[in-house]
Amino acid sequence: MSEQHTELLRFSTAGSVDDGKSTLIGRLLYDSKSIFEDQYETIKETTARRGEEGVNLALLTDGLKAEREQGITIDVAYRYFATPRRKFIIADTPGHIQYTRNMVTGASTANVALVLIDARKGILEQTRRHAFIASLLQIPHLVVCVNKMDLVDYSEEVYERIKEEFSEFSYKLDVKDVHFIPISALNGDNVVEKSTNMDWYGGSTLLYYLENVHIGSDDNFIDCRFPVQYVIRPNTDEFHDYRGYAGRVAGGVFKKGDKVMVLPSGFTSEITKIDTFDGEVNEAFPPMSVIMLLKDEIDISRGDMIVRKNNVPEVAQDLELMVCWFNEKPLQPRGKYGIMHTSQDARCIVKDIRYKLDINTLHRNEEDKQIGMNDIARVVIRTTKPLFADIYRRNRNTGSVILIDEQTNETVAAGMII
């Protein structure tokens, strides 16, 4: 069977009770025929048993017992559907402020952020928060769906007003590509099928947008970064002297014959082979997992990074981060934490808290240094050993870290290098 040309697109959604997010996802899954009969029958029965009418598509996305009981999405749920053009992974997250950490988690790998606005209510605090998180996590594309258009008589005026208001505040954010679509998730207008109720709208449907938005430039193909993940040494007769550095390309395009430098040692060498189980490849780029073989015998282990000599990341122990705090136990000023960055594992100390950010107003509060669960703050850290870091804006793979509580081993924060 030949290779297919379908791409993978990851998008995140955030929403709260009543804004129609679950209905929209249900609609995308249902209209693209990704809901199975037995799932449909199960939620139909459950809806009836609860004394509700119709089929509550929200039950499809609420998986855990607690969520079904309370009728809310607590965690990040992953959903899948495919069309002949693309396969989609939806990171479905709750939208309430107390779940900021879940939104951040869902946004971390997304190509597209889908922001829902209720046409009757216009832009709410929550809308701003979602857009801000999308910009903080550097999601390359933002699609704003103005939902429930059926409840405002499909009014172009309402849609234009919301669009303008959103643009006014989003120019302050760091988002490159914003797109607007008027929809009714309940009736299916402009979700998969073009609406006949909004002739004034000349743009594409949501599904068409998701199928066609250009994601080919979302990864960094400029700065060569190869964090060594695992060293492969077969020690067999056939592969006696084989010593390969396995990893996933985090940036740039590596080619056979490239002159490279290894961090932290600074030794230089040349790529003699880029290997895979399926044979040698000529070049490797994100998101490929490959094995690098070098000309010279250098001592390389997990945590090292192979780069191009003329384009090296910052080798630093003092870093400034935007962090989102995840844990009930607040950030301890001068506290020590474990830190993971690419394939590196180190420890760090929080040297300073610059400010806490109000994610609704974007106000920087330099007085309040109590950083608790769901808070976003700018901090200064010092690590026990140098990290090979890029700024997060430039590369999401080499610009991201997580902090770990050394007693409980829990992941307590996500950090973006600035």
Binding site: E7, D38, L64, Y80, R101, F221, Q229, P234, N235, G247
Partner: protein, 302 residues
């Protein structure tokens, strides 16, 4: 043009799974790959072979044998282990029953599926495994939709869905205390269709059970079960001969078979692409209650 650098969705999923498998080998001292003989675990073993090539898979395969397997499964397993040069460890439900650690369920719907959890946890403890790689996928079942790639388990092997570690970018936190372990799911993001398309693209050999064949079956509660000695028949139940195939392979007592004419992988893909029932729709073990999977997972099920 940057778009020249582009891989298709199956290659991207493959790269992600290989990354996770290597991360497990790097972060854990003594991992093990849970191997049931089903297509997902065949895929897992295949990806593990790719991840560590040209070296051998640096951890053993663990098969929890209920003693009620389709005979084809065991044959296939042994051939695969030999071809990959892998190490196989078997945890036996029958042996645990013989030792008196477990009591068989009784009645028409008796299944050893529930007894597996005990043997699994016992095998993990005895082998001192600190990470168990499983072929669970998030599209399979609603409780699995919220599962992490690296899923932390306490010293009792339990899953706490409300207190899962956040997982961001591709930074996987495998830190743990002594006695705790992880379940790791490298193919979390694959769907049933992805698995089939990939197996076809790579020409991966599969057990004959997945292809349509004639078999004696009985129909119970809307599910077709393969007729065998392990399933007591009710007086009203008739054995019929039908063209069927398995969509999942588990214990014979709870794995439903489906009427099908698909005899090649391409025909299976056609069938899956147009299927109107989830593959676990035939799993009697999921039907015991609405949250049957979540409840079993909390106890330490696969």
């Amino acid at each position: 043009m940057a778009s020249a650098y582009h891989v298709n969705h199956l290659r991207e999923l493959e790269a992600e799974s290989i990354y996770v498998l290597r991360e497990v080998a790097a972060q854990f001292e003594n991992p093990v790959l849970l191997f049931s003989g089903g297509k997902d675990s065949i895929l897992m073993a295949y990806l593990a072979r790719k991840a560590f090539y040209p070296a051998r898979i640096p951890f053993p395969l663990l098969h929890i044998d209920t003693g009620h397997n389709f005979p084809e499964t065991i044959e296939f397993r042994d051939r695969l282990v030999e071809e990959y040069g892998a190490r196989l460890v078997v945890g036996s439900v029958q042996a645990a029953i013989d030792r008196g650690e477990l009591v068989e369920e009784k009645g028409y719907n008796a299944s050893r599926n529930y007894l597996q959890t005990h043997v699994l946890l016992d095998s993990l403890e005895k082998g001192k495994y600190d990470a168990a790689l499983g072929g669970g996928r998030r599209d399979e079942e609603k409780a699995r939709a919220k599962e992490r790639f690296f899923s932390h388990r306490d010293e009792f092997g339990q899953w706490d869905p409300k207190n899962q570690r956040p997982e961001l970018w591709n930074l996987f936190n495998g830190k743990k205390h002594y006695g705790e372990h992880f379940r790791v799911f490298p193919i979390s993001n694959w769907t049933e269709l992805d698995v089939w398309q990939y197996l076809a693209m790579e020409n991966v050999p599969l057990p004959s059970l997945y292809f349509a064949h004639e078999r004696e079956v009985i129909s119970r509660d809307g599910i077709l079960l393969a007729d065998c000695d392990y399933i007591p028949k009710k007086p009203t139940e008739q054995v019929e001969n039908m063209m069927v195939r398995c969509r999942t392979i588990g214990d014979m007592t709870c794995t439903g078979v489906w009427e099908s004419q698909a005899t090649t992988v391409e025909e299976i893909i056609q069938e899956v692409a147009t299927a109107r029932q989830t593959e676990r729709g035939g799993r009697a073990d999921d039907k015991r209650s609405e949250t049957a999977m979540e409840d079993r997972k909390k106890q330490g099920y696969f």
